[in-house]
């Protein structure tokens, strides 16, 4: 009897902790943001940015986290469609696997906006991207410059640390990077993945490779949080800032800090705030199914190009290379200074 009582008490206590009752304000409607994971700072900040900017133009944002699971995100899409929101913002876990869910939502009359992770296999109502392949290309350009400065030509040994090899995001960056490096056969690239984007896995790779290939000139990591573990591994090998050149991508706060400390040479930024702001600027048009005109737009001061592609309107916002010279500029999301000015809808 005592055991049953204790079990009941425990169950009630746990249930009480788990209950959350959000309070919703009145708005033009709800927009569901399907975030792929909350385990990295880009995604975490994207929730804050999309919530803020959509709020500026009158929408209330509900965020669903897919924990990097494609099947979970598909289920979330199904559940969301049943709730008939004003629109869905999707940052897909898997670019292609979510295509049927997008089609299902649009067939139900719910517009779908694609954030950050471009889906070209099926039409959507607006895509706002920096371009993962382009991030790889920008990184390649910076790496070519750094190698030339150090070795007099684009030659040397590069260690490329991917994220999880099952994540198309990292594979796209790899593609963009390696395509651009093909013309430089003297630049040898060693590529290894940090399983599950876990930082200590990146540290292990760097640690092993610095022993096996002590002549590595440059390390390119596909996310800033991986750089932290890489730096710790380098420190443990007695290296100092600048001994090995480093580049990483996404522009997270940790990356910017490492630039300030001299460990990272370049961080290739994904313009998170502008990408999120672009969605908010066009949200009314998307929700009301109005035409979105191609052309040049200024998004938070960044010159962006909106084109009509086979998958729908696509706004591409240029990513930037962050270096010691410009690291403190507030436009970089890694400085966590979200623009205070209200976003205005495009007329």
């Amino acid at each position: 009897m005592n055991r049953i009582r204790r079990l009941l008490t425990a169950s009630i206590a746990i249930a009480a902790v788990g209950i959350v009752s959000p309070a919703f304000a009145q708005s033009k409607g709800k927009i569901f943001y399907m975030v792929p994971t909350l385990l990295d700072e880009f995604q975490t900040e994207s929730v804050a940015a999309i919530t803020k900017f959509m709020g500026d133009v009158g929408y209330e944002v509900v965020t669903l986290n897919a924990d990097n699971k494609t099947d979970l995100q598909q289920s979330q899409m199904n559940d969301t469609i049943l709730q008939k929101p004003a629109a869905i913002v999707l940052a897909a876990v898997d670019f292609n696997a979510l295509a049927p869910s997008i089609e299902k939502a649009r067939a139900a009359g719910i517009p779908v906006m694609i954030f950050d992770r471009q889906i070209t296999s099926t039409p959507s109502d607006l895509t706002s991207v920096a371009g993962t392949i382009e991030i790889g290309q920008v990184a390649a350009g910076e790496i070519q410059r750094l190698l030339k400065e150090k070795n007099g030509a684009v030659k040397g040994k590069i260690l490329q640390v991917l994220g999880d090899p099952a994540d198309p995001y990292t594979l796209d960056i790899q593609k963009g990077f390696e395509d651009k490096m093909k013309e430089f056969p003297d630049a040898q690239i060693i590529t290894l993945p940090a399983m599950q984007w876990e930082a200590s896995n990146a540290g292990t790779i760097v640690s092993d490779q610095m022993v096996a290939n002590p002549d590595i000139d440059l390390i390119f990591l596909h996310a800033a949080h991986l750089s932290v573990a890489a730096v710790a591994a380098l420190e443990a090998k007695g290296k100092k800032p600048g001994d090995v050149m480093m580049i990483s991508s996404n522009g997270a706060p940790v990356g910017l800090d490492l630039i300030r400390k001299g460990w990272l040479n370049v961080e290739v930024e994904q313009p998170l705030y502008a990408q999120a702001a672009a969605l908010a600027m066009f949200a009314d048009k998307v929700v009301n199914k109005q035409e979105i005109k191609p052309g040049n737009y200024s998004v938070l001061g960044l010159d962006s190009v909106l084109t009509t592609e086979s998958w729908g309107p696509n706004i591409k916002i240029p990513g930037a290379a962050i270096t010691k010279e410009n690291v403190d500029e507030p436009r970089f999301w890694g400085n966590l200074k979200a623009p205070a000015d209200k976003i205005m809808p495009v007329e």
Binding site: A10, L39, D40, L192, M195, Q196, A232, A236
Partner: protein, 332 residues
């Protein structure tokens, strides 16, 4: 009928089979994997074994006791995040400082151990006091504790750990970083506890036959409770070491380590049925896995092969375990 000498040799080989496997693997990698045979790589293997190795100690103790603890990975992540938040100076770190500065080391360690012990205590309450299934209870902990890591960090990371702590990750003794020595020390201490103290012997007895142990006057529930708390606290230690190695903590730190810890425990000869297993074997299992990871890194093989090889290795270990029984019967 075999001679007693033959039987003794066979018993020795069977009891230390994982060490022989490790030796064979190291020799093979040294011969065939470019750049493998060097002190730096062996030091890396020992260093990389630290986190999974320490985590596997607690897991092995609970499994030897006849239960299961799936929460060790998340517990380590929580301890790492708490350490990171308190003692990192950038990101979400609060940059807590103490005077004198070296106090950061024992205080942070105590906090990490306490965080782990609390999770272990909760697992114990639900499993032992409320009689719930350990698999389900610790699976729930695995989920909610990781959720807590995300919640307290807001998905952000802490970095730039206090130099008083980082020194353990940087300084070396005999080419091996101090964190790896801590793991080795843990194995020495817990091997002694499990092999030479009444606690260890009783826990093993409980895992073999809890009813018989109870009838023999052993306080089964009390010892089981302690085993869960130890598993939690040791996982907390693993998290503390992980934070030191990576100079901070991210919300996904330690992801995937549970599988490796389980693999090491099984490869190390611990029976999932309970009552059988020795911690030195588990350490050999961890070293074996780290050697394979390192070889794959050096060969530049796609990491997917690591998972395939690990899975096959676990299967081989279970097969060997079955074979061991048959060989033992032949020599009996």
């Amino acid at each position: 009928m075999k001679s007693s000498r033959q039987r003794a040799i066979a018993e020795f080989v069977l009891d230390h089979l994982v060490w022989f496997m490790l030796a064979v693997v190291l020799i093979a990698f040294s011969l065939f994997v470019p750049n493998f045979f060097q002190i730096g790589i062996f030091a890396n293997i020992v260093e990389q074994s630290t986190f999974v190795g320490v985590m596997a100690i607690g897991l092995a103790i609970v499994i030897i006791a006849g239960h299961m603890d799936l929460s060790v990975e998340s517990t380590a992540a929580l301890a790492a995040m708490v350490t990171g938040i308190l003692f990192c100076s950038r990101g979400i770190g609060l940059g807590l400082t103490l005077t004198p500065e070296w106090l950061v080391l024992p205080v942070s360690l105590l906090i990490a151990l306490s965080v782990g012990a609390v999770i272990g205590f909760l697992n114990g309450v639900f499993t032992i006091k409320l009689g719930m299934n350990a698999f389900i209870v610790t699976l729930a902990s695995y989920i909610w504790v990781r959720g807590l890591v995300v919640a307290i960090s807001g998905g952000r990371s802490a970095q730039d750990l206090s130099p008083s702590l980082r020194v353990i990750g940087i300084e070396q003794l005999l080419f091996v970083p101090l964190i790896a020595w801590i793991a080795i020390l843990c194995y020495v201490i817990f091997s002694f506890i499990m092999g030479r103290t009444p606690f260890g012997r009783h826990v093993t007895l409980i895992g073999g036959n809890a009813v018989a142990a109870f009838r023999a006057g052993i306080k089964v529930d009390r010892l089981m409770f302690i085993a869960f708390i130890i598993a939690g606290a040791v996982a907390g230690l693993a998290g503390w070491l992980l934070a030191i190695r990576t100079s901070g903590a991210t919300a996904n730190l330690g992801t995937g380590m549970l599988f490796n810890a389980f693999a090491a425990v099984v490869i190390g000869g611990v029976s999932l049925k309970g009552g059988v297993g020795k911690l030195p074997g588990v350490y050999a299992g961890v070293l074996l896995l780290s050697s394979i990871h390192t070889a794959i890194n050096l060969m530049g093989l796609p990491a997917h092969y690591t998972q395939v090889i690990l899975g096959l290795l676990v299967l081989a270990a279970v097969l060997l375990d079955t074979l061991k029984l048959q060989i033992r019967q032949r020599f009996a």
